[in-house]
Symmetry: none
């Protein structure tokens, strides 16, 4: 059986930019277009030339892509010819091989929002798309509010898209602009459109996630016959976002009946780059990656329940619907008070700690974790602190140094200019090789600004650790998370610290105390100890 | 036409707890069960009695709910009788009116994961559910891996659920445990189950979001005839989460054909509390609310595109699929300064600050909020700090006292018994009525335990404020939340403090600084100032 072809149309750079708080620079747009092109998408919608300087600059830079670069705009306005519409002219002047124009297909929007007659709107559609075709462009109609329009006035909705189709549009894209359409409605309406005479391989689907159905609506349209899929990386987009290509691509490649019936431009190798591409976009936007994201989330293949964890060690297909490696992801079997011994052994093995089945240390470690979790610790993410705890129970925890005491001072006062200034200072006394070392650091960064007491403490601690100093020289604190676990100012504070070394290794440690400085201190000490063990520092 | 009844079954406290990084305390579980009960859900699954101390403590506390409290467990194990299975006994001993037991319905899982025969598994199901019924409990079968099992071996999958049904189960819950089933498959399989003789009003649906189809799969099952819906608040849950009740509830209440065909236990008034409930859960978990969440996200009704924004001011239905107020949300039109000002006037009026339309102070306040939010402040929840900011721009902020300086010391050392002890001490210099006051406090609680530097600082600050002392005597700090807003240890720390007075009034203040003690201090000072204004303390 020959497979049908599905076409992937990315609008991260246009509709994705409507996300609240997102504003791409031209350079970022170029970076993202490379990312999209490497995945093997068919169209990249780069923006609206003429609508803002960034979009115009992007098209001027004209990045080379295998994907068909597409400019977005709107159909010509009433009362002027296609040739005299300066908004449309700016779009054409971008010189892209494909042009997508948004236009009305909902009678209510034509008469109420636009305030023109239905016949006028149809004529605007006809002449705009005829113009694109005459100029040798691939013409794409973004049929705004198509589903709501169809439910309201099916005759006009069909008239609008047939007008564009007959004017030579390659793609008629059915848009659920407000995101309120349900999947079963998409099935019915796309079927009705195909029955009206527009073949499925000329139809696209563009959905929004306002009811969490953007992916389902897209799949429903494909099953009904549509062949172009519009969406964005990581589901960026206005309000609740657009259909998420990061989810749709693996579904189309890995899940049935899509995998058997269709092919896309995304190779198996490109699919493995999906997770890095998703992360890179978050990086560009300085966003924390969504842990629970389908396929690419850090938790997407994390098995916490004890029942699941033990079965998955026997056979991964028992609790995984696809292989995490297919999208560049990995399986995680974290600790928690629901975890069993098999879960624990797997996790220890990953840390290079081979423990025999039935070893009584396993029960001791689990008990210890349970007790610590009751105090407020959490080892799900703090793998390095988990390893230190396990090593202690296994008698494999070297004691490199001992912190005898520390003192941190936080001061705020007005200076002579009556400005408020604050400064912290930390003193740490460490004992190693039978000797005492006393180190001090303040909290001022290279820019002379106060960076707070935890920073001062971290710097004092790692200022001079004698023979271990070379091991921790490149240690950097890259993230710091605080949470109060019991409510109330007298409750317990949990601090998670992420550290990184010069080779890009990253590890997480945890500290818990009623005192936030103390909790931070504990996590800092764990971070150093873990690094010394990992690098096999001598005792 | 009489409407059918849909039953909502919440598993936030059980399956939701499988979320990576989530670990509820017993108190938090009780708080959340109240939240769920206020929404009008039908069942609350409280956890697995006997599996861990928190879940056992929760059932021992036995919070009173209108919803049917449900204990979760698993069907009896092979090789012992129902009466002699201690795991099952612990579940029964929780004494809940309903009990939900997970059991196998996939032949592959019975033989490969469990390693028993199909007949043995059926007998385990039969005797377990017969036992529940004999004990007078509402019996619920969580049919694990039902959809995958059905695709693999439909005969055994049906045998398993029919066995439970005939043993007297009130609900047979079809679970997509691995989250890989597509919506069209759910439609087919639920239809086949009903055709096999189990009526739809005895069927539940339990889905996971591994392909972003949990909501769509749930709706597909309902349209095929299932009548119980399982899910979690905010879509918490293992891996990519469970079906999101925060999305499903408004769909069932507001979208067609669900709204016309069905009723639920959620009233229109409760639906308006959906957003606050969602936020409160995030608060308990100290999670940043997902802006793009369907219905309840802060961006869910934010209209950024210029075209949309101007149309929506004419007629909201042009770009909104439901009324945001129905779920307690509000429209955001960031482009429109006018909408911003009317929102602001409304918020000021609530604080007793009447400001005329068009007052130039309104634009100044909006600018100031924008600038502060860029620094990391957030006034969404910190209403008291928002009021102080507005008062300052309005020239209505009395200056009761001035903090000239403070100093906080945090020390940790070993005592003579070689125990590690820590202590904080705070000194605060305040100027009021032209006089200086110097106050000191340490961090030791009534139990002699260290409560950390912020506590010491709060106590020193409120130790002696002269003529204002009587106003703040009953002031208590009841919650303290910390968030790092920029990532990295050098990033900015945002502290939110909730305060309470003797009459049960509660208010929230915010502080931001690179220095966590400083940020806390700022929020503490705001808390005191707000209280003095509220109680009309004299200058």
């Amino acid at each position: 059986m020959t497979k049908g072809r599905l076409y992937l149309y990315d609008t991260t750079l246009r509709d994705g930019q409507q996300t609240q708080g997102v504003q791409f620079s031209t350079d970022e747009k170029i970076q993202i277009s490379t990312l999209l092109d490497d995945l093997g998408l068919d169209h990249i919608e780069g923006g609206w030339p003429g609508a803002n300087p960034t979009d115009s600059d992007f098209f001027n830079a004209a990045p080379k892509t295998r994907a068909t670069m597409t400019a977005f705009g709107m159909t010509k306005r009433s009362g002027r010819s296609t040739e005299n519409d300066d908004v449309l002219a700016a779009v054409m002047n971008a010189g892209t091989p494909a042009v997508c124009l948004v236009g009305k297909s909902s009678a209510f929007h034509v008469t109420d929002a636009l305030g023109i007659t239905l016949a006028e709107n149809s004529e605007n559609l006809r002449s705009s798309f005829a113009h694109l075709v005459a100029q040798g462009r691939e013409a794409i109609f973004d049929a705004e509010h198509f589903f709501d329009g169809y439910k309201d006035n099916p005759d006009y909705a069909l008239e609008a898209i047939h007008t564009a189709y007959e004017a030579g549009c390659r793609w008629i894209v059915l848009c659920d602009t407000n995101g309120g359409t349900m999947p079963h409605e998409v099935t019915e309406i796309v079927t009705a459109v195909i029955n009206s005479g527009i073949p499925g391989d000329r139809l696209g689907i563009h959905t929004h996630n306002d009811t969490e159905n953007a992916v389902a609506n897209t799949l429903a349209a494909v099953l009904a016959g549509a062949r172009q899929i519009q969406g964005t990386l990581n589901g960026l987009g206005e309000r609740c976002g657009n259909a998420n290509l990061t989810t749709l691509i693996p579904i189309l490649k890995l899940k049935e009946p899509f995998a058997s019936q269709f092919e896309t431009g995304v190779s198996d190798a490109a699919l493995k780059r999906l997770l890095p591409a998703s992360r890179m976009l978050d990086d560009i936007l300085n966003r924390v990656p969504a842990k629970q994201a389908a396929f690419v989330g850090a938790s997407a293949f994390a098995h916490k329940a004890g029942l699941h964890a033990s079965a998955i060690l026997k056979n991964p297909t028992t609790y995984e619907h696809v292989d995490p490696a297919a999208v560049g992801n990995t399986r995680i079997v974290p600790m928690s008070n629901q975890a069993g011994q098999s879960n624990l052994r797997e996790r220890l093995a990953k840390a290079g700690l081979a423990v025999e089945k039935g070893d009584p240390a396993l029960a001791r470690i689990l008990d210890r974790i349970k007790a610590k979790e009751a105090e407020g610790y959490s080892y799900d993410t703090a793998q390095a602190s988990f390893e230190l705890l396990a090593r202690k129970e296994l008698g494999q925890l070297p004691k490199f140094f001992e912190v005898k005491r520390y003192r941190v001072t936080v001061e705020r006062r007005k200076n002579k200019k009556n400005e408020t200034v604050s400064l912290s200072e930390a003193v740490v006394a460490v004992k190693m090789d039978g000797q005492r070392k006393l180190n001090v650091s303040d909290s001022l960064g290279e820019d002379g600004k106060d960076q707070g007491p935890v920073n001062a403490l971290g710097r004092a601690l790692s200022k001079d650790l004698g023979k271990y100093q070379s091991y921790i020289e490149d240690l950097k604190l890259v993230d710091y998370k605080v949470r109060i676990t019991n409510g109330g100012i007298e409750a317990v504070t949990r601090v998670i610290i992420d550290s990184e070394d010069g080779q890009g290794n990253r590890w997480s440690t945890v500290g818990v105390s009623a005192n936030i400085v103390d909790a931070s201190f504990e996590a800092l000490v764990d971070a150093i100890n873990w690094k010394l063990i990992r690098d096999r520092a001598p005792l």
